[in-house]
């Protein structure tokens, strides 16, 4: 479960995230949407403890991120948009290393099953340089899932995956949410978000301009029409409409 109140992140004098408050419960998937530069990545990086935020309060799985970062980080996993891997470690060595960092009990069979699930088991002894971008991304995901995180942050999780990969990724996220994980993800692929997310939050210039369940948000911007797509809502919310 994720509780954020009045999160502010400033880069110098530029405010990238402005007084953001949100709450996601176990089983929920929150979709973060907004135009380029809205502050999605910044928000996710603050919540994952990668960059310190200027002010505000963040609670991850009932632990305050500022006062006990180690415990909070043990419960979370962050999946960056650009896969970053160690040059000289093979796929399997990446998994072994991550298992030790998170103190995973009986890691070996778990590693095999995760690699199998993500269909990169045959690449287990390859270096990142020999993997395609999608495979690298799968490896990052496998590493992140190894310690069964309660809270997961995905930044643009679907870019670079093939159609089948996207399908599986969505299923995987939904399945983990149903199993009790708390998820926030950002994406520009709106029609896919519609399938995965239980809630959406629209950001613009660092500010929240709408949030709630999909139905609530669309009711707000639909002006009476029914069946408005998230894309249409996005255009209306981030376009001319002032809030």
């Amino acid at each position: 479960m994720i509780e954020v109140s009045n999160l502010i992140k400033q880069y110098g004098s530029h405010t990238a995230v402005n007084r953001l408050t949100l709450s996601v419960k176990p089983g929920e998937v929150l979709g973060l949407v907004g135009p380029n530069g809205a502050g999605k990545t910044t928000t996710l990086r603050c919540l994952a403890g990668i960059i310190p935020f200027t002010s505000g309060q963040v609670t991850i799985a009932d632990v305050d991120l500022v006062t006990d970062p180690v415990a909070a980080k043990r419960a979370l996993a962050f999946f960056p948009d650009e896969p970053r891997l160690f040059d000289y470690l093979t796929v399997r060595q990446h998994m072994t290393f991550t298992a030790r960092i998170y103190g995973v009990v009986n890691a070996e069979p778990l590693i095999i099953s995760l690699l199998q699930e993500l269909e990169i088991l045959d690449k287990a002894d390859k270096l990142p340089g020999q993997l395609s971008r999608g495979m690298k991304q799968k490896l990052v995901i496998a590493c992140g899932l190894l310690h069964s995180p309660k809270v997961m942050f995905f930044d643009e999780p679907l870019t670079g995956l093939d159609p089948l990969g996207i399908r599986k990724m969505k299923d995987s996220i939904m399945r983990r949410a149903q199993a009790g994980a708390t998820v926030i993800l950002s994406s520009h692929l709106l029609h896919l978000l519609e399938e995965v997310c239980t809630n959406v939050l629209i950001l613009k210039k660092g500010q929240k301009i709408a949030d709630g369940t999909l139905a609530e948000v669309s009711a707000r911007y639909s002006a009476g029409e029914s069946n408005v797509s998230l894309e249409e809502i996005f255009m209306r919310a981030t376009g001319g409409v002032e809030d």
Partner: protein
Amino acid sequence: MLRALLYLRITSARNQFVAFIKRLKEPKYLLGAAAAIVYLYYAVFKTVNGHLDDIQSSPLGRHVGVIPVTFSRDQFVGVAACILFVLIFFKTAWLLISPPAQPGLKFSEAEIAFLFSAPLTRKRLIHFNLLSTQFKILFSSLLLTLLFGNAGAGFSANIFKALGWWILLSSFSLYTIGSGLFIARKLQRSVKPMLYRIFAGLLLLLLMKHLVSAYLKLSSVTPTFIDPISGALFQTNLLLKAADTQFILAPFKILVAPYFSAQWVTFSSAFALALGVLTVLYIWILTQEVSFEEGSLALAQKRTEVRAAIASGKAPINASVKEKVFKDPFRLLGQGSTEVAFLWKNLISIQSWFNLRVIMILLGPTVFIVLSEYHSVGTPQDVMRMITIISTSLASITLFVGPQLLRQDLRSDLIYMDMLKTYPMKGWQIVLGEIATPVVVMSAVLFMSLIMFVISMHTHWHSIYTASSPILAGILVIPPICTLELLIPNAAVLIFPGLALSANNRRGGIEVMGQRLIFVFGQMLAVLIALLPAGIFGFAVFISAQWWASLIFFDGAAKIIGVLFGAGSLLALMVGEIAFALWWLGRRFEKFDLSKELPQGNS
């Protein structure tokens, strides 16, 4: 087209400079820059009132100790030529040990992405590359002149020095590029590249063996000098006078001559000659390149590969170079202290250049030469003396440049900072884990050379007790000394990440020597400050403990007890310092705001 490349080079240089100046707004960078300026000022102007002249009063001269005035300029030229020869020799040997995967010049990833897919001839790319190295070389020559120069020697003398450095660095860099191209091309074309490498390696080995045996034969006619430097100078000069070595060393003498010139007349002729050598090297590169381009389709293919790699969002460099898989150094279990995971990971990556094969290749020839000399020269003392020399030089190289060579710590992992930040670990744990690998490797090498040293000096130890006391002291103090040494560059990464990152990017060779040397000196200074008080205290404890123990025990045992207490108290003090440094760096790591400190790669 060359214009466009020049534009790229100059704008990048200018933007780098602007970014550097902007960084100075931050107090810590300003402080750092001020310290650097004070340091340079000290290095340059402190010697103005010095009474010794030239080399003796430069910082290097002071480190080396007083050099007898009887040695002439010619002799310094000779020694310097020898040093340059040895450097070139090892460079060539290294190229044979790990030849470049593609015949080539080093380009940054962005340069590859932009330039390789652009309609440029290979020749243009070479010129671009040479131009880039020239920027670095000019800067380095300036720094080196400041470091080793002597303001008291006058303006023109320092001009000679600067141009002398420029010649030295340029020739080394040109040779590196040329020989890299040459060897890579030869290997690509030959049917049995391994055989070729072994053959070339053997030739080098024979040359080395010949020189070493010539050198050793001289030692019988050398008068004994009090200090080893004078002895080495004397012997080197005798060696230079021998006919065959004169022939080998001639080009190197030409290259070092400008540096040691004192008058305009001698300088201009020396400089002209050296420029001639540089031109030869330049033409060598160009001709190889042109024929390479005409002769093969491989390049075009490589380019399409690079293009495809870029299109699929892959880093083209990774795709072509890193494909050797290294084994786990030990079995890493899922549970246990997390620092060990970093040791494990970095021991894997360090094998990319420091592995058993390389050690064997480096040690093999040494052992071969020592053994063969044992037969030709004869006395066991000579062999032992050589082992002493080898072990002390190995130890001093490790102590002084080891921390610069072994970079598998925060310096190489700075680019993974965002990942490290998500790990559920305390800051100090990450710092400790990251420096563990170079500490282990350095300690192992130092300990090995200590044992070699003790064995080679066996006639000096009167008993097993005196012989074992240095080893005992080594076990206690080597690891903490290495830790202290490595904490410093890692602290620099956390305090000045911007500079550290740009230092990583220019992973150039000789071109960035000036900056590297400043780092080395700064590092030594810091280690000295950390070590001196503890060392004095430890020594005092050693003396007093030995004295007390000698009242009760026999001498040998007293010595061991003294060493135990002395080294033990040194150890205790250093552990205290290390703990404090780790705690402080850990906090810095936790507070580290990488969005502020590092240019963000993406999103």
